[in-house]
C-alpha cells in the first residue's frame, strides 16, 4: 500500500476520487421500444446466439389453463429426458404435465457434481433478462437454485416472465440486481471459437439452452 501511495506522488493529497470527472453521457438504453417490442428483440437476440426460443401464454383469469406446463413437458419429452433437476422454489404447476416416470431431482446441499452429471435436464426461472444483448441473468433465487444445477446437465429450460422480468439494456439490468448474490449471466449456450474460429456449442456448459417467454403480451406472437 505504501508503494502504491509513493507511485501516486503526482496526485494532489487533497484530491478526492469525485474530482476525476466521469461523464455518463452514454445511453441508459439504446432506442425506444414498447414492452412487446422489447420482448421480440430479446427473442431475436437469444435466437441469434443459438438459444431455442418458445412462447407460452399465461392467461389473465385463473380459470383458463396456461400452456406453459404442456410446453415444458413436450420439450423434456423431445429430448428424451429421464430426469430433471428442480430448484426448491420452482412453481409446482410448471412440471405438472411432466410424466411421473421422469425422475425429479431436487436441488439440495447433498447433490454432488457427480449426481448432477447423471441428470438429463434442468428447469429454472430467472432474475432478469436483457433484450439488447440476448442475456438471461440467474441470481440463485428459489426458482433458479444453486449455480451448479444450470451448469452440469446438458439441457437447460429457462422460463422468463415477459414484461416484469425483461429489461432493455445492461445498465437497466444491473440496477435490478443484488451484487451480494452470486450471478450468472447466460447469453446463448456454452460455446467456443478456439479451433480456427469455428463456433462450436457446448464445451462445458449445457449444449442446449431453451428459453420460454411467458406472459399475456407474448400470447400468439410466435
Amino acid at each position: 500500500m505504501a508503494r502504491i501511495r509513493r507511485a501516486l506522488a503526482d496526485v494532489p493529497r487533497a484530491e478526492t476520487p469525485g474530482e476525476v470527472p466521469v461523464e455518463r453521457t452514454y445511453h441508459r438504453v439504446h432506442g425506444d421500444r414498447s414492452s412487446a417490442q422489447t420482448a421480440d428483440l430479446l427473442a431475436e437476440n437469444l435466437a441469434d446466439y443459438r438459444a431455442i426460443v418458445h412462447r407460452a401464454d399465461t392467461p389473465s383469469s385463473p380459470d383458463t389453463p396456461s400452456s406453459l406446463p404442456a410446453l415444458i413437458a413436450r420439450l423434456l419429452a423431445d429430448r428424451g429426458a429421464t430426469s430433471v433437476a428442480v430448484p426448491p422454489g420452482l412453481p409446482a404447476s410448471w412440471l405438472s404435465a411432466v410424466p411421473g416416470a421422469v425422475r425429479r431431482v431436487p436441488d439440495t446441499a447433498e447433490l454432488t457434481p457427480h449426481d448432477l452429471d447423471a441428470v438429463s435436464s434442468v428447469v429454472t426461472g430467472c432474475a432478469v433478462a436483457i433484450a439488447e444483448t440476448g442475456t438471461v441473468v440467474l441470481d440463485a433465487g428459489p426458482d433458479q437454485g444453486r449455480r451448479r444445477i444450470t451448469l452440469v446437465p446438458d439441457h437447460h429450460i429457462c422460463v422468463i416472465r415477459v414484461t416484469d422480468q425483461v429489461v432493455g439494456s445492461v445498465p437497466e439490468a444491473l440496477e435490478r440486481l443484488d451484487p451480494a448474490r452470486p450471478l450468472t449471466w447466460i447469453s446463448g449456450p456454452s460455446a467456443t471459437s478456439d479451433i480456427e474460429l469455428d463456433r462450436v456449442e457446448g464445451v462445458h456448459g449445457p449444449r442446449t439452452l431453451e428459453v420460454i417467454l411467458t406472459g399475456p403480451e407474448s400470447a400468439g406472437q410466435s
Binding site: I4, V22, V170, P171, P182, T184, S187, P189, E196
Partner: protein, 494 residues
C-alpha cells in the same frame, strides 16, 4: 528469449503461421467493427470507461482498501503479493493447506504472467488448464500466442494430433479415430475435462473486474469452464492484478458493454459469473483473493505509462496490428503479446533485458491500436515514451523505488545519430551545405547502409534524397503561392 527483431525474423518466415494469423485477425476485426457499430454511443462509453479507470488508478490505494474490507466482510480472505515469486508462494501454500495435489484452472493472464503452473509443478502440484485453447497449449507443451484465442497459431490438424498423442498423459485419452472436425475436437475436450471438474477440490482463476464498493469479482467467458472452476471446487483462489478494481457495481454497465464487443465481437459473451465472498451451500466454502503487484506500481508511478493499466485485456489491438499479424504472439516473449504487450511488458518487467528493451520498437506507430482500444489507451504515445527511456535512460520507478536508469545497451548508434542530428539542426548553414551536397551526389547513394547502419537498412527502404532541399525550394518559390511567385517557380523548373 531473443529480442523481438530476432524472434520476429524467424516467425515472419513461417508462412503457415502467418496464414493462420491473418485469417484469424481479419475475421475478428471485421466482426468487431459490426458489433461496435450497433451502439451509437460507443465513443461515449469508451470515454466513460477510460475516465472510470483513470479515477480508479489515481486513487488506487483508497479503492483497494475498500475492496479488501468488502471481500473480507463477505467471507473471503485477502493476500498481497509484491511480485511473481511471492504470489506463487502464497498460492502454493494455499493449495498445500487443502491437502490436494491437483487444481483446475480457468484461463488467467495474471497466472500466465507469473508462471504459476511451473511454480506449482515444482511443488508437486498439477494445474489443469480448462479453457479449450489453453488445454491445446498445455498438452502441446507450447505457449499462448494471443490474449483471447491463445492457440490461434494452431490449425485443426495440429490440434487433432496433439489430442491423440498427449491427452492420455494428462487424464482421459482422446477417443479412437478422432477426426479434425472442430465439433469432435470440442467433444473430446469436454469428456477429458469433465472428469477433472467433477473431482476438483481446488479451483484457480483470475478476474476481469473487482468491485471496490461490494467486493464482487467478475469473470467473463464463453465455454463454461470458468463456471465449472468457480463453482464446483471447495476452495477457490483468484489471482488478480491490483489494477483490475473498479469503484462501483454500476460501473460494470460500462465495461460489460465495452469488453464483449471489443474482444469476441459479441453483444455479450455466453457466460459471465460474479461472486461476492462465499455463499452458503452454493459454490466454494473458502475464497482467497491474491492481489498482485508485480511491476504494476512501477507502471503506476509513470504518469505517461500509467494509462496502460486501464487495459481490460480485450485483445482488439492485437487484431488490428500489422506487426502482430506478421510476427505472431510468441515473438513478444511474454504473456502479453501485440501492441498492449509492447507497452505493458517493458513497464512491468523494466527495460533491462534485451528483449524488453526491444519491445517498444515492435511497432510501426500506425496508431490503429489506439483507434480500437475500448478504454482509449494511447499506445503510440507510450511506445515513443518508452523508446526514449530505452535510448536515453532517465528517472523511473523500479520495484517500488524511484531511480535513474541508464540507457539500454546496443543503442549507441541511435544515440550518436540523435546527437549528430541535434548538432546539425543547431547549425543551419552547415545543414544547408550538407543537404545540397547530398542532392548532388544522389546518384551514388547505396541502397543499403554500410557499417553499423546495416542492420537498420536490412528491414527498411532507404529514403530517396530529393533533387532539391525543401529550404532551397522554398527560397526559390515561396511555397508556390503569393503574388505570382508560384507561376514563376513553375517556369523556373521547366
Amino acid at each position: 528469449m531473443p529480442a523481438f527483431p530476432q524472434a520476429a525474423n524467424a516467425s515472419t518466415r513461417n508462412t503457415h503461421l502467418r496464414a493462420n494469423l491473418r485469417h484469424a485477425t481479419h475475421t475478428i476485426r471485421a466482426k468487431r467493427a459490426t458489433a461496435v457499430a450497433e451502439l451509437d454511443d460507443w465513443s461515449r462509453l469508451r470515454a466513460a470507461g477510460a475516465a472510470i479507470k483513470d479515477r480508479t488508478l489515481r486513487h488506487l490505494d483508497q479503492y483497494l482498501e475498500q475492496l479488501e474490507s468488502a471481500v473480507t466482510a463477505a467471507g473471503g480472505q485477502i493476500h498481497w503479493a509484491a511480485d511473481a515469486d511471492e504470489a506463487n508462494r502464497i498460492v502454493t501454500e494455499l493449495v498445500r493447506a487443502t491437502g490436494e495435489r491437483e487444481v483446475v484452472k480457468v484461463k488467467s493472464m495474471a497466472t500466465q504472467e507469473i508462471g504459476l503452473n511451473g511454480a506449482l509443478a515444482t511443488a508437486g502440484i498439477t494445474a489443469y488448464e480448462t479453457d479449450l485453447a489453453e488445454l491445446i497449449v498445455q498438452l502441446g507443451d507450447d505457449l499462448p500466442s494471443h490474449i483471447l484465442v491463445p492457440a490461434i497459431h494452431r490449425n485443426r490438424g495440429e490440434i487433432r494430433d496433439i489430442f491423440t498423442e498427449k491427452m492420455s498423459q494428462w487424464g482421459r485419452p482422446a477417443p479412437d479415430g478422432l477426426t479434425d472436425a472442430p465439433a469432435d475436437l470440442a467433444e473430446a475436450a469436454r469428456l477429458h475435462l469433465r472428469e477433472k471438474f467433477l473431482n476438483a477440490k481446488v479451483g484457480i482463476s483470475g478476474a476481469n473486474f473487482m468491485v471496490a464498493e461490494t467486493g464482487t469479482l467478475v469473470v467473463v467467458e464463453s465455454e463454461g469452464n470458468g463456471r465449472m472452476c468457480l463453482t464446483l471446487p471447495e476452495t477457490l483462489i483468484s489471482v488478480v492484478g491490483i489494477e483490475k478494481v473498479v469503484p462501483t457495481f454500476q460501473d460494470l454497465e460500462v465495461f460489460l458493454q465495452l469488453l464483449p464487443r471489443s474482444s469476441t465481437a459479441e453483444r455479450m459473451n455466453p457466460y459471465t459469473s460474479t461472486w461476492t465472498g462465499t455463499t452458503d451451500a452454493d459454490g466454494p466454502r473458502a475464497f482467497h483473493l491474491v492481489l498482485l503487484d508485480n511491476g504494476r506500481t512501477d507502471t503506476l508511478a509513470d504518469t505517461v505509462g500509467r494509462q496502460a493499466l486501464r487495459c481490460i485485456r480485450c485483445s482488439a489491438c492485437l487484431n488490428v496490428c500489422p506487426v502482430y499479424e506478421r510476427a505472431g504472439g510468441h515473438a513478444y516473449g511474454s504473456a502479453y503479446p501485440g501492441p498492449i504487450g509492447a507497452i505493458l511488458t517493458p513497464q512491468l518487467r523494466g527495460t533491462q533485458s534485451e528483449l524488453d528493451a526491444s519491445l517498444p520498437y515492435a511497432s510501426s506507430l500506425c496508431g490503429a491500436c489506439y483507434e480500437v482500444c475500448p478504454v482509449a489507451i494511447d499506445i503510440p504515445e507510450i511506445l515513443v515514451h518508452l523508446r526514449e527511456r530505452v535510448v536515453e535512460g532517465g528517472p523511473a520507478s523500479v520495484r517500488g523505488t524511484r531511480t535513474v536508469i541508464k540507457p539500454a545497451k546496443g543503442h549507441a548508434a541511435e544515440r550518436a545519430a540523435m546527437r549528430a542530428a541535434r548538432w546539425a539542426l543547431d547549425h543551419p548553414r552547415l545543414l544547408r551545405t550538407g543537404q545540397r551536397l547530398a542532392s548532388r551526389t544522389r546518384r551514388f547513394h547505396p541502397r543499403r547502409l554500410p557499417g553499423p547502419g546495416r542492420a537498420w537498412s536490412d528491414t527498411r527502404e532507404l529514403p530517396k534524397v530529393p533533387e532539391e532541399s525543401f529550404r532551397d525550394w522554398w527560397q526559390r518559390t515561396r511555397g508556390g503561392s503569393g503574388t505570382g511567385s508560384g507561376t514563376e517557380g513553375r517556369k523556373d523548373t521547366t
